[in-house]
Amino acid sequence: MNVDEIVNGIFSKNRRALARAITYVENELPGSKEILKAIHSRTGRAHVIGLTGFPGVGKSTIMSKLTEEFRKRGKMVGIVAVDPGSPFTGGALLGDRLRMEGFDANKQLWVDPGVFFRSMSSRGRAGGLAAKTGDVVKILDAYGFDIIFVETVGAGQGEVDIVKVADTVVVILMPEVGDDIQLSKAGILEIADIFVVNKADLEGVEKTVRWLRSMVMMSEEVVQTLSTLTHADEARVLSGEIFKVSNHWVPPIHTTIADRGVGISELADSIEKHYEYQRKSGGLLKRRSSRAKIELEEIILGEIKNLIKKKFNYTEILKEIVENKKDPYTVAEEIISKLCYER
């Protein structure tokens, strides 16, 4: 399959072309840039949903159940599931697919033509996603999936790259997983559009939900309001009225028992509601613009790096810096001015 066949294949809903396009992009094979250029005009139509959370909280199980739910609602669902890969051997064991189950014997998710599942290795990268996950999402988008799920690596430390890819971020917790400090440190609370406390069949759900609620309610705005209140306002505090000051999106908190499908349709409703809200409020456009900016800058930097490698003798330059003959700031200025002004 060459690049033209791949691009035309994507536009005519050829699964093998889709699968092959992902392989090209993931491995940066020659031609991958052409594929991404060709499909760009058809992107931006899918609702991209990120699922993140500590290892084993039930991300894949929830994703499988949500896929069933959105299939019932008539949506085509594309999935990218990222699992950790070793930076040393380069290998990976990708196991998220394992959790995909069918909803009835004749129409299993595994063979449902309206579902596409792709496993991806992080290839040793931190942040919860692979370097090319965003580009893979674009390919799925161009192919025509209505909903695209992205499951992050579950490592529990700063897996926040998902905000760069997803329109709606679902943060999944379970009872008794880590303490407040660990969760706050991981930085995943701030990125949530929707919270899920999964494994509600286990003890301690109420405690986790209560704690989450207090975190969500204590937005900056509310703290500000509280600080200006007097005793006279006590009734408003007790009734919870003051917490409703915000007309921003307040992340809802769902409880689920994913392996039994409990709470899934409510969660799906919330996900759709958030997308609607984002579309109407302009939040979607804002998020996508800042994503485009990050992406553009990354591409530019990459191109500049390649250019420098081509035009300059790095080994020589680095040697001068290490031997204190030149400082890196001056060298950088020299390189930039040569790149910009000498054609």
Partner: protein, 142 residues
């Protein structure tokens, strides 16, 4: 440009419930630098085929001990074609207790190699590395 990673879909087809062997194999293949998609127990030929196509597998490893290999393996290959895949560009490997008489028949049907229980994993890894690049017209041809 990075080197293209070798993607392996490993499946346990049929009714029998042992997957310790495949899981161990999966770990060794990972340590050898492959990206291994482990698909779990009791997969049907359709499910394995779909995974092979969607995951753009270079290697499909089918493990079975149930004795139904002469129907399940060809079915898997047939479904890969049906879903738009090119089994002839993939390495199709079968693991399990396969009677000697059936080995040439399976190869005739499109299986590249059969590994009986007890085959050293290094042999399998070596086999994949050597034979993938000989696949005519495939993305791995060297």
């Amino acid at each position: 440009m990075e080197e293209k990673k070798i993607r392996v879909v490993l499946a346990k087809v049929g009714l029998d419930g042992h997957d310790r062997g495949v899981k161990v194999l999966a770990r060794f293949l990972r340590d050898a630098g492959f990206e291994v998609i482990y698909t779990g127990l009791h997969r049907t030929p359709q499910e394995v085929a779909r995974a092979a196509v969607d995951e753009d597998a270079d290697v499909v490893g089918i493990s079975l001990h149930s004795g139904a290999h002469m129907t399940l393996v060809p079915k898997t290959i047939q479904y890969i074609k049906e879903y738009g895949g090119k089994p002839e560009e993939m390495l199709i490997l079968v693991g399990g207790i396969i009677p000697n008489d059936d080995i040439p028949k399976l190869k005739e049907l499109g299986v590249d190699e059969i590994f009986i229980p007890g085959t050293p994993i290094s042999t399998i890894i070596e086999y994949i590395r050597e034979n993938l690049k000989k696949k005519k017209g495939s993305i791995n041809e060297r």
